[in-house]
Subunit: 768 residues, 2 copies
Amino acid sequence: MQDEYLKSDPWSIIEEGFDKDRVKSSESIFSIGNGHMGQRANFEEGYSGATFQGSYIAGVYYPDKTRVGWWKNGYPEYFAKVLNAPNWIGIDVWVNGEALDLNTCKKVDHFRRELNMKEGWYRRSFKATLPNGLETEVKIVRFLSLDLDEVGAIRFEITPTDADVEVAFHPYLDSGITNEDTNWDDKFWNTTQISSKENQAFIESHTLRTNFEVCTFMESHLFLNGRPLNKIPSEEKEALRVAHKFVQPAKKGETLALHKFGGYTVSRNHKASELVGAAKSSLKRAVDLGFEALLEQQKQAWARIWEMADITIEGDVKAQQGIRFNIFQLNQTYLGEDSRLNIGPKGFTGEKYGGSTYWDTEAYCIPFYMATKNQKVARNLLKYRYNHLEKAIENAQKLGFTNGAALYPMVTMNGEESHNEWEITFEEIHRNGAIAFAIFNYFRYTGDYSYIPEMGLEVLIAISRFWHQRANFSEPKGKYVILGVTGPNEYENNVNNNWYTNYVGKWCIDYTLRQLQKVKDGFSEDYDRVIGKTRLTDDETAQWQKVAGNMYFPYSEEHQVFLQQDGFLDKELVTVENLPTSQRPINQKWSWDRILRSPYIKQADILQGFYFFEDHFTMKELEKHFDFYEPFTVHESSLSPCVHAIQAAKLNRMEQAYRFYLRTSRLDLDDYNREVEEGLHITSMAGTWMSIVEGFGGMRILDDKLSFTPRIPEQWESYSFKINFRNRIVKVIVQKDKTEFSLDGKEEMSIRVNGNKVVLTPGKVVEV
Amino acid sequence: MQDEYLKSDPWSIIEEGFDKDRVKSSESIFSIGNGHMGQRANFEEGYSGATFQGSYIAGVYYPDKTRVGWWKNGYPEYFAKVLNAPNWIGIDVWVNGEALDLNTCKKVDHFRRELNMKEGWYRRSFKATLPNGLETEVKIVRFLSLDLDEVGAIRFEITPTDADVEVAFHPYLDSGITNEDTNWDDKFWNTTQISSKENQAFIESHTLRTNFEVCTFMESHLFLNGRPLNKIPSEEKEALRVAHKFVQPAKKGETLALHKFGGYTVSRNHKASELVGAAKSSLKRAVDLGFEALLEQQKQAWARIWEMADITIEGDVKAQQGIRFNIFQLNQTYLGEDSRLNIGPKGFTGEKYGGSTYWDTEAYCIPFYMATKNQKVARNLLKYRYNHLEKAIENAQKLGFTNGAALYPMVTMNGEESHNEWEITFEEIHRNGAIAFAIFNYFRYTGDYSYIPEMGLEVLIAISRFWHQRANFSEPKGKYVILGVTGPNEYENNVNNNWYTNYVGKWCIDYTLRQLQKVKDGFSEDYDRVIGKTRLTDDETAQWQKVAGNMYFPYSEEHQVFLQQDGFLDKELVTVENLPTSQRPINQKWSWDRILRSPYIKQADILQGFYFFEDHFTMKELEKHFDFYEPFTVHESSLSPCVHAIQAAKLNRMEQAYRFYLRTSRLDLDDYNREVEEGLHITSMAGTWMSIVEGFGGMRILDDKLSFTPRIPEQWESYSFKINFRNRIVKVIVQKDKTEFSLDGKEEMSIRVNGNKVVLTPGKVVEV
């Protein structure tokens, strides 16, 4: 499955050579984003070959009418779809009247792409022989500014190498775009105004139904051998498109460069009436700085991110490149400053999967953002769910729940459900648990309790109400059971008593009851407000307690393990090792019923519970469950290997842990699943970070303190990472024979390393 | 839910008064068919109101590309769709240049429809006041000839009542038709040739992909006061349409009549090159006879059907009308002469549900056709499945089965699967059992063993192979289990050890093994052929035996009943009685997960097994299971009440049996489910027949002999039915205090009545 197409490099992703069959894949891998907007690595100039165009604006979506084979009550009527936005990057290029199009060139030499992750820019260069025989060298640099986050910048350079020529640049804006992923081929955008003056142009359009108003804008300047030509282009307007036309002679060896600035202003961030004005002011700032200075700022901005978020690995360039790619993409996707946004599974790299928010955010992404940014970012992610609480209550009502019970959607953009497989939408209810767990985890990590009385308690009450109502008493078992669910292992559907679901359901109630007491004791005003609002009574909590206290957990005496669900042992228990490789991946080779009745596990299920609630179980128990379940696990979810890497490392099985790490860290770079052209797996990238920090580094919070159990894969010389723990930066360098810890700030901090107390003093490196 | 819209009448369905909101429903109810083609009760003249156009040709379908929300491996790429065929019935009518359109008339008086089931015709009459104020009386009679089964006939009469007028009749053919039910708005038909000469016109078209070639044809003649005018119309051709134009003055009180003959010739029955010729010869036969004589033949043909199939009920007109409607529709849908055809769930009355064949055919329809026609008809239905065996083996292969195992499709037209809900398509595997059961049932009823060595044994072997492979050994249970199925009760999905499925699976193997022995002993040539073809070995059958002999059946000691599936008792066992009526029907009120974890049963499941294998269980056991499960049964499948009527009658609970009977017999006439506009529930109509004959009449085959346990609902004076048992016609008249039996033919026949032997002598009525 390994693929050596991309060059190994510690800081850059590099592609060399032009391969038409790889264009769509590379468009995903070389995507750029700045949290506010994103852009697949589509060519600026026209390209008549196969391409998947994608320009995305954070938080701008369209509710596409649901299309299914067979309707089930409770399905959402509309899905929030990730939306391809008007094109601002386009620059048609002609040389002596011949279009530059890599698909029709006689020859393309020295084609090279580089995504410089350290500095946050993307460069493409090549030497093209046009159909008319003319040879030109082309070099394009593009980036989306972190500082001016509504602006992207392109420098498109062309040098004729064998003749004097006339070059025409037609930078354009185009709102006549479509979505690849649409259920009814609806029109998603309506364009209301196109304006153009001198070097600037603006297209005002809005999304249908959701009515997000967007101004797509551009301004271009022409340079000859680095010297501004101050040309005013002619313009060409069509119904959904506006182009500017620059025509300029260039002698052999001279370099013509078009600097194009463009991007979006959006009614989410401005008054609708002021979008063009805001665009003009963004353009002014960018143009005043100029391409080079803006790029310099970009490098500095990314340096600040890397300063905190970088993980170094010595002795393994591929692993180094992989982890940086993951950290880079996470930061391109979400910067944590806007509590209306979240971390889409494909980020700004594709359209697949409606909605932007999965339980991935709570289970995998929040730990990354908590440790590499500040607590405000994680708090924004929690606040996002608080803001969706009412919708989650409505969602539960659609499924028959009452009294303020909440079921958070499986997939969402705006709080409404955006998925429609009944076995997932209605039954993968454990997601409610991850949302409560994130509240617990946030406090555990940051020590900031304030979220709970202010917002979290309401979320917890609504979630506990759901679990209480969802369980029912089984006469034969004399216990409460939870029937008809899909656990984290989506390769079993509609099962009874999925251990993980029952466990997290019980835990939610227990945890909520403890927080109720804590808020009552310490924040009586908040307590009164919340109780008044939710009308929670002692009677009701007593009912909850009955359910949580008598929850059923399937267990096998013979194997001494909890059972993933009631019927697990009835299956034909053939391990993955004994499954012919011709049958894998089973999700491509087998029909769904066969997968369901097989023992094969898509992603950590019971082991996910052991990861969340690690201190509830002994190492012996972990080992038993790992040894029982991992042999049945096919890891066909991108979220599976990371949890297993962490658990294997904890069991000191470093060889196995390293194998799991490799599988998660280069999933997209090496295109394990042959689908990278659809976009990158953004959320699982946080799992890769966890594999190193929590897995190899063994980072935990124990008794309110940072704790480490550092281990290192044999293949590595050393690795290092930084942690922001309660606004103190701890740096950890793990080597084969020792680990170095250092600390910023002024005060000492005591941590635990391999179970022993270690005191860190700022400015002093401690070796353990 | 009762609805008094239609008039009670023993032989006709009658609607009085024009209600635009009922047009689509009445279009379903007044549908006509002759086994070869069918026609919804669409108006001949133009109608600008809401209508659902439907003209259908038996066996002509289109494979529509599957459209789903989420694709699962194994789903069929295409679905065979019931296809709306070119329109042959259309007659545009103008009076003094004003179009006759019931939607725009100033007034519509005396609107009346009658579907005369006894004679097989449909009449519509009304008095219309046109927008121009002219008043006319209109009377239309239409039928699809049973004798000339490619021909339909229309007599359209119009009488001006207040002025002398000029009437224009434009009979037309139109192939520019669409399907209401289409996944991608594909074009289904391509028209290649339109020809017209004098009174005749022909449109040649073919279905795309399947390439069924069809000639749609018409010939029209004009009459004044019953006298032929021998007019030659002018013609008007468009791309997909041809019309003939008759213009004729009519004095006040005179009646103008257009006789239109039309229909289809199809490449399924003729050489493609001879379709127009065949159409001409059909037209000639019809026109030579004339409308009146053809109608007379129609009455006689239906009299022959009723002679055998009628059930009379004295003292309950609604029940009488209901059972006749069911028998009439079954005969309109399928006459049993073509083993390539089957009984579609909507017959010729709508498009809903792709495909035409469900397990309904084997479970419900075959008993009706066996008893009311001759054994050849039932044998054709069995042969249909034999012809699809290879496709069923391919279908199983797609799901991972090997070695010639067959899984018959859930829904099919041509042997390929035409459904795509994984929980049904892949998991409702019990359908294989019904197909084997029908083979058993056919022999039990007809005594004709020949089907088994000739064809049935191969089907049985392939089915047994499936069950053998589908079961797996459960270590904890020490038995073979069948995991991940949907039983007949579709309100539980992906359950383990559905009792019915396990039972029918085991029975299939046992039965196949017995037939193998029997064929070996009695038909050694067939045996050798089949063994050679299937490569069945003793080793393999020994493996089958192991599975069948050690099948697991969930059982509750406490309740002394078999459990519908492993987890049934863990549910919250609240009976239907205690379910608020506001919550019903649950399939409209509840989300799917809630239905699944509820104890509510859609249709007989364990009781279906007790119906099939009645002699395997005691009356005491039946009573226990009926009393345990019926209280949880919501009967939201049209196939549920009939089995319960039979079982309740057997338990001598006649009041309850009668309530179940009512629910099944007038399902469409009273539109219980508010969906009759989509078409009729054809297959469940056979269940209604079973309710009377097997339920109230207690008909069974015991020890190779007919047996009856006659009972009568309190509401009825008497009822009667006839049975063709091995080419002997037995007539049964059940009265309150006695039952009369009579027999045709020459020889005596001994039957059992209430367990006692009774000898019937031809020509003599025996009272019991």
